[in-house]
Symmetry: C2
Subunit: 705 residues, 2 copies
C-alpha cells in the first residue's frame, strides 16, 4: 500500500515535470522513454555495450561528449547506461573525415553496437544517429550501415551583433552573452553545440556579416576563445566575420588596401594571434563592398585581391582556415538589373582565388525571397570553389510568426540543374564539390536561433534548423523524409497526427508564397523590417523600392529579364534560357520573375493573369484557414503547450495573410483596373489603410536597435 | 520485482527532470515535495479542505488563480489537491482591502484551513502565504494569523523600451513581446504575474520612464490590454508611463501645455480611451523635465500643473487612477548642487497637487548609489503624498554580475528617521501614509527581471526581487528575516548551508560599497554603462562627471555640503544637520558625502583618511575573496547548476573588485601623494590601463542599443 502510494506520488510528479518540460527547449533531442515494452526490452538486449572505434582509439573530449550524450539519451530512452569500450581500428577510407558506421556486434558474448569513425567527430555523429534511430523506433537487430557527409564544412551563420541584437533574428536575442564572457559560461552554449552536432553541423560563424572590428581585439578574442572551447568538445569549429577595414579601425593603419604590405602584415599577425586563442579556428566569412560594408573596391582592388590577402595567412604554418567571400554584392550606383550584378562582378575573377577561398552564394540572385530563380553563379566560375548560403531565419517568410517549413524550398534549390556541365549539374553537386572535383566544399545556413526558450520562436520553426542540418549532411534527403523524421523526434503523436503535422509542414512554404509573392513576384515587402506587404514602397535608392521589381503599369506586371529586358536570363545555361525565356514554357511560379506580362494574358489555367494572380492570393489565405482547421484538430493529440503556442501564431498569420492579399490586390488593381474574380474576398479596408500600417520596433530590424 | 524496476526507472526520471529544473525559473515558488514523512502527513491531515472566504463569496478569475496555485503548490508539496469551498463572510475591517487571515478550522468534521480576505486579492495573498508556510516547514496546527499590507499600491517599475531593450536591465531583454501581442501570449506573462502576486505586489508599470508616446496609440493599447488581461487574474493592475509631449507626437497638437484646454481635452479623451482597453487601469508614472524628457517647464508651467492635468481624468467618472510624478529632476544649467535641486523644485509646490497625485522619490537625492544619504524630500512636503522608488536592478551595484543583496540597504532607508514630525518619522511611515494620514500610499521598485531563464541573471539576484516584494507588503520585516525566508524557499539546503547563504547575502552590499564607493564616495563610476570605476570621468555636462562629486585635490576628498559648502545639509531636519554636519559625529559611511576631508584627517579608527580609504578598498576585495571561499564550500550542499552559475559570476566580481580598488586608489593617490598603507595590495597596472578599459555594448546601456 505504501509502495502504491509512493508510486502514485512519483507518477504525478513525473507528469508535472514532463508537462513543464514541453517548452521546446529540448528540440529533437527529447529522449523520452521509448514507447512499447517490447521495443524497450529489445533495445536493452541489443545494447549491453557500445563500442566507440576510431583510428586513434583515444578517449578525447569529443569522445567524452559522445559518451555523455549516450548516457543522457539511453538513460531517457531505455533507462540504461551501457558499458562503453573505446578501441582503435583500421582507417576506413570510405568513411572519410566525418562519416560513421553503425554495426550490431557481440562483445564478451553480449550484444552491442559498434560506432566506427575515422575521427572522434565521426563517432559523435554515429552516436547521435544511433540515438535518433531509437527515438524513431527503428530496429537495431542486424544493424549495419554507414553514412558519410557529402559536404566538408557544414556551417551556421549567425547575424549577431555585439550588443546581442540579431539582424533578422525573430527568436529573441543573441545567445552570446559577451559582457560576461569569458568568465561566465551559459549552459546554453553547450546545448547549442549539442544541437548542431546532432545533425552533423561542424562549424559556426558567430557574428554578423555586417561586421564589427572589435571582435578581432584581444578583449573579444578571449571571449571568443571561451565559446570555441565549448564548441570544440562537440566537434564544432568557430569562424568569425572579419571587417575589411579592421586594420584602420582597430589597427591604427591609414589604409586597408589589400595590396599594401603593411595591411598584409597586419592581417598576417592578426590571424596568427587568433590562432593563439582558437587553435582550430575555421576562418573568416566576409561581406565586402555590399550594402555599405567596406571592401577592396574602396582601394581600387577586386574581390580576389581582398579574399586572397585574408586567405594567405589562414593557410600558412599548417593552418587549414578558409575565407568564405560572399557574392551578395550590388551597388545602387550601378543601373544594371540588381540580380545580374554579382555574376558580372565575380565571373571575370574565376580562377583568381586562392585554393582556400570559397565564394558564398545565396540561393537566389536577389535576396532570400519566398521563391527566386537560382543564382546563375552556381552555373558559372568553373575554376572557383562555390558554396551555398541558405537562410534558415525567415526574413521574407514571416519571421517566427508564420509557418514556412523550408525543406521544400531547399530541395528545389539543391536539385536545380544548372546545366553547367550538361544535364545533372545540380546545385547540390556544385556545392558538394563533386561536379568540379574540388576538395573544399561548404554550405552555410543563416540561423533562426535566439534566446527564446524554444530556440526558434515558432515551435515549428525548429524544423527548419533541423532540416538545414540534415541537408548539409546529405543534400539528397527529401524534404518530406526530413519532415517525417523531425516530427517523430519532436512530438509524442500517434501516426495519424504525425502525418497531419508533416502534411501541414510540407505545404506551408507554398502557402506563404501564394499569399505574399505568387507567380514569381518578389521584393514587394515593407522596407526595413521586411514584414508584411509593401508593393508601394518608393523613395530612396531605387533598388530598394518595390516597383523596381514588380514593374506594374496599365499594361501588365513583372520584371522583363529577357532579351528585350535586362537580359538577366543570359546568365543561365541555354537549356534554361530557352525554357524560362519563353512565355509558353516558363513555369507559372517564375513567370513574373522573368517576364512583364499583360493583365489579360491567358495563363495555362485559361484565366487571364489578373484573375490568376488574385486567385493565388485568395488561395494563400484559404490555405491558412485550412491549416488552422487542421491544427485545431490536433488538440489533445500533441502536448498542449506547443499546440497552443502554434495555434496563437497561426491566428496572427491568418491576419497577416489577409493583409498581404488585400494590400497587394488593391495596389495592383490600380494598374489592372479589373474587378476581383469570383471567389476572391474583397478587401476589408481601402488601400491607404494598408499603406499606413507602420510596424515599429519589429524584431530583427537593424534600424531600430 | 516488476514494481521495483519500474520504481527505479521512475526515480531516475524524476532525478533527471528535477535536476534540469534547477535553472532558477521557478524562483521561490518551487513547491518540491516537503521534507520529512511526518511533516507531510501532518500537512495532509491539516489540509483535507481549504475554505476561501470573501465578502462576496464568488468564484472570480482571481479566486480561480488562487485555486490553481493551491493545486499546483499542494500537488508538489504534499501530493494532494484538497476540496476548495468558496464562501461569503462578513466584512472584516481589520483586514483592509488586501489583507488576509489564515485559520485552522473544521469542515464537515475534517480539518481544513480557512483563508479569509475582504477581497479576492486578499484570498490570493493568503493562499501564497499558506504555501510559503508549508515550504518553510511551519506547523499549520492551531494556525490563526492575519497579515495586512502597510502600503496600498505596491508596484514594479519596468524601464522597458518598445524594442525590448531594458534600460539598466542586466537579465536579458524585455519580457513583453510587443510584435506578437495581442495574438500571442507568452506563458511567461502569467508566471511573471504569479511571482509578483506571491509577494503581494499589486501593480506594474510596464514601460520605461524615458517614455515613448507610441504606447498610447490604439495599436499598442490593444497589446497593453492583452497583458493587463493576464495580470488582472493575479490581482495586478497595469500602469503606463506617459510621455508629456504625447499630444504633439501622436495627437497632432502644436503644444503640450498643461493649461491649454485642447491639451487637457486630449488627455481627457486619451485616458477615457485607455480605460476602454484596460478597465482597471492604475494610472501614469511620469518623468518630466529631467534628463531630456519633456515636461511642463517646456511651456512655462510647474510640476503641479503637469501632474494635475493628467490626474484629473484619472479620478473622473468613478476611476481610481493615480499619477506618480517623479521627483528625480535636475538640470545641468542649474549650478546648484545636484542633490539639492529636487527639493528646491518640489517643496514650493507642497499642497498644490491633486489628491490622486503622489510624488515618487528615489531613496537618495542623487541616483541609486551604493550608499547615499536619504532624499530630504521624504522629510518635507507635509501636504503632499510621497512614495519611495527603490532600484532592484543593480545599476550602480554590479549589474547581474556582482552579488549585492539589497535588503540591508532598503532596511537602512525605510527605518531612517526624517524627524519630520519628531523622532520616529521614518521613511517607512512617510511612505505607508501613517505619518501624515494620507490614504493613498505607494512604493515602487525598478525591476531586475528580463528574459534570462532565471529571470534575474545572477541566481542570487532573485533575492532582491523577493525582498522588494516582501518589504512593499511590510516594511518592518528585517532584511535578515527576508534573506532567511528566501534562502529556504529557493534552495534545498541543510540548515548550516542555508545559514551560510544568508550570511553571504547579508554582507554582500557592504562589500560592494567597500570596493567601489566607501566612506560616502559616490558617482565615481564609468559614464554611460555605469559599470566599473571612473573617478577620472570628465567632459560634457559637469553634473555627469566624477570630480563634481568627489572633489579630490591635494588637500583632501569629498563633497562639502555643509554650511560653507553647498548647504545641502540644510534640507534635513535639525537633528540630522547637527549629526551629519559635524565631522565628529557624521558616521564614516557618509563622511565624504557631506564633507571635504583632508587626506591626513584622523578617522575614528585613528588612521589618517587616506589610509582608511585605501584599507576600505582592500577590505572590499578581501571580502570578495572570503565570499568566494565560503561559496566554494557550498559545493554539493545546493544544486550544482545554480552553485556553478554563481561561482562563475563571483570570479568575475573578484576581477571587478580588484579593478575598482586599483583604479580608484591610483587615481586618488595622484592627489593624496601618499603611499599605500600596509595590507593594501599594489595595483597590477598603471592608472592609464584602468582609464583605457572600455566596456562596449554593456547590457542596459541605452546609448548602445
Amino acid at each position: 500500500m505504501m509502495m502504491r502510494l509512493l508510486l502514485v506520488a512519483l507518477l504525478a510528479s513525473v507528469a508535472l515535470n514532463s508537462a513543464q518540460a514541453e517548452d521546446g527547449y529540448r528540440l529533437w533531442l527529447r529522449y523520452d522513454q521509448v514507447d512499447g515494452r517490447d521495443v524497450r526490452s529489445g533495445y536493452r538486449s541489443a545494447l549491453r555495450a557500445v563500442v566507440f572505434q576510431t583510428t586513434a582509439g583515444e578517449d578525447t573530449p569529443v569522445i567524452a561528449s559522445a559518451r555523455a550524450e549516450l548516457t543522457r539519451g539511453l538513460g531517457g530512452l531505455i533507462d540504461r547506461d551501457p558499458t562503453v569500450h573505446i578501441v582503435a581500428g583500421e582507417l576506413r577510407p570510405e568513411l572519410g573525415a566525418d562519416g560513421y558506421a553503425l554495426k550490431a556486434v557481440t562483445v564478451d558474448g553480449e550484444r552491442a553496437v559498434r560506432i566506427t569513425g575515422n575521427s572522434d567527430a565521426g563517432v559523435l555523429y554515429g552516436t547521435f544517429a544511433l540515438l535518433r534511430k531509437m527515438q524513431l523506433g527503428e530496429s537495431l537487430d542486424e544493424l549495419d550501415e554507414t553514412s558519410v557527409p557529402k559536404i566538408a564544412r557544414r556551417l551556421m551563420n549567425h547575424w549577431d551583433n555585439l550588443n546581442r541584437f540579431v539582424e533578422r533574428g525573430y527568436a529573441g536575442f543573441s545567445l552570446w552573452e559577451w559582457a560576461y564572457l569569458p568568465e561566465v559560461i551559459s549552459p546554453r552554449y553547450e546545448d547549442y553545440a549539442r544541437a548542431l552536432a546532432s545533425t552533423g553541423i561542424n562549424g559556426t560563424v558567430i557574428n554578423n556579416v555586417n561586421a564589427n572590428a572589435l571582435i578581432l581585439t584581444p578583449e573579444y578574442l578571449a571571449k571568443v576563445a571561451a565559446l570555441a572551447d565549448v564548441f570544440r568538445q562537440w566537434g564544432i569549429r568557430l569562424y568569425l566575420t572579419s571587417r575589411f577595414s579592421a586594420p584602420m579601425e582597430i589597427g591604427g593603419l591609414e589604409t586597408a588596401d589589400p595590396l599594401d604590405p603593411a595591411v598584409q602584415a597586419w592581417w598576417d599577425a592578426k590571424v596568427a594571434e587568433i590562432y593563439t586563442y582558437v587553435p582550430d579556428f575555421g576562418g573568416f566569412l566576409v561581406k565586402a563592398n555590399s550594402e555599405g560594408q567596406p571592401g577592396p573596391h574602396d582601394f581600387g582592388r577586386d574581390h580576389a585581391d581582398g579574399a586572397n590577402m585574408l586567405a594567405a595567412p589562414l593557410a600558412a604554418e599548417g593552418r587549414d582556415g578558409i575565407v568564405m567571400w560572399r557574392a551578395f554584392v550590388y551597388a545602387f550606383e550601378d543601373d544594371t538589373d540588381r540580380v545580374k550584378q554579382a555574376y558580372n562582378q565575380f565571373v571575370p575573377l574565376d580562377g583568381k582565388f586562392l585554393d582556400n577561398v570559397i565564394v558564398q552564394i545565396k540561393n537566389g540572385p536577389l535576396d532570400f525571397m519566398p521563391r527566386e530563380a537560382f543564382s546563375p553563379l552556381f552555373g558559372a566560375m568553373p575554376h572557383t570553389r562555390l558554396m551555398a548560403e541558405l537562410q534558415i531565419t525567415q526574413e521574407y517568410l514571416g519571421g517566427s510568426v508564420q509557418l514556412a517549413y523550408l525543406g521544400p524550398m531547399w530541395e528545389e534549390v539543391l536539385t536545380q540543374d544548372t546545366y553547367a556541365q550538361g544535364e545533372g549539374s545540380t546545385i547540390g553537386r556544385v556545392v558538394d564539390g563533386t561536379l568540379k572535383g574540388h576538395p573544399l566544399s561548404a554550405i552555410a545556413g543563416v540561423a533562426n536561433t535566439g534566446t527564446d526558450r524554444n530556440w526558434t520562436g515558432h515551435p515549428l520553426a525548429q524544423s527548419n534548423w533541423y532540416a538545414y542540418g540534415r541537408l548539409a549532411w546529405d543534400h539528397e534527403l527529401t524534404a518530406h523524409q526530413i519532415a517525417e523524421e523531425w516530427t517523430a523526434l519532436t512530438f509524442d503523436a500517434e501516426e495519424d497526427a504525425a502525418n497531419e503535422i508533416v502534411e501541414i509542414l510540407m505545404g506551408s512554404r507554398e502557402t506563404v508564397v501564394n499569399y505574399s509573392m505568387p507567380l514569381g513576384l518578389h521584393h514587394i515587402m515593407e522596407r526595413g523590417h521586411h514584414y508584411g506587404p509593401g508593393p508601394w514602397v518608393m523613395g530612396g535608392r531605387s533598388d530598394w523600392t518595390s516597383p523596381y521589381y514588380h514593374q506594374a503599369n496599365e499594361i501588365g506586371v513583372g520584371a522583363d529579364r529577357g532579351q528585350f529586358g535586362s537580359k538577366a536570363i543570359n546568365q543561365y545555361a541555354l537549356e534554361l534560357r530557352q525554357q524560362w525565356g519563353n512565355l509558353d514554357t516558363v513555369p507559372d511560379n517564375l513567370l513574373l520573375w522573368f517576364h512583364h506580362v499583360p493583365w489579360d494574358y491567358e495563363m495555362k489555367s485559361g484565366r487571364p493573369l489578373w484573375d490568376e494572380l488574385a486567385l493565388r492570393y485568395q488561395q494563400g489565405v484559404d490555405e491558412v484557414h485550412a491549416m488552422q482547421a487542421r491544427w485545431d484538430d490536433l488538440q489533445g493529440k500533441i502536448d498542449d503547450e506547443r499546440w497552443d503556442a502554434t495555434r496563437q501564431r497561426m491566428a496572427l498569420q491568418e491576419k497577416d495573410a489577409r493583409e498581404w492579399r488585400d494590400a497587394c490586390l488593391l495596389y495592383f488593381q490600380q494598374f489592372s483596373q479589373r474587378p476581383l474574380p469570383e471567389g476572391v474576398e474583397p478587401a476589408e479596408y481601402d488601400l491607404q489603410h494598408y499603406i499606413d500600417v507602420n510596424r515599429r520596433y519589429y524584431p530583427g530590424h537593424p534600424g531600430e536597435y
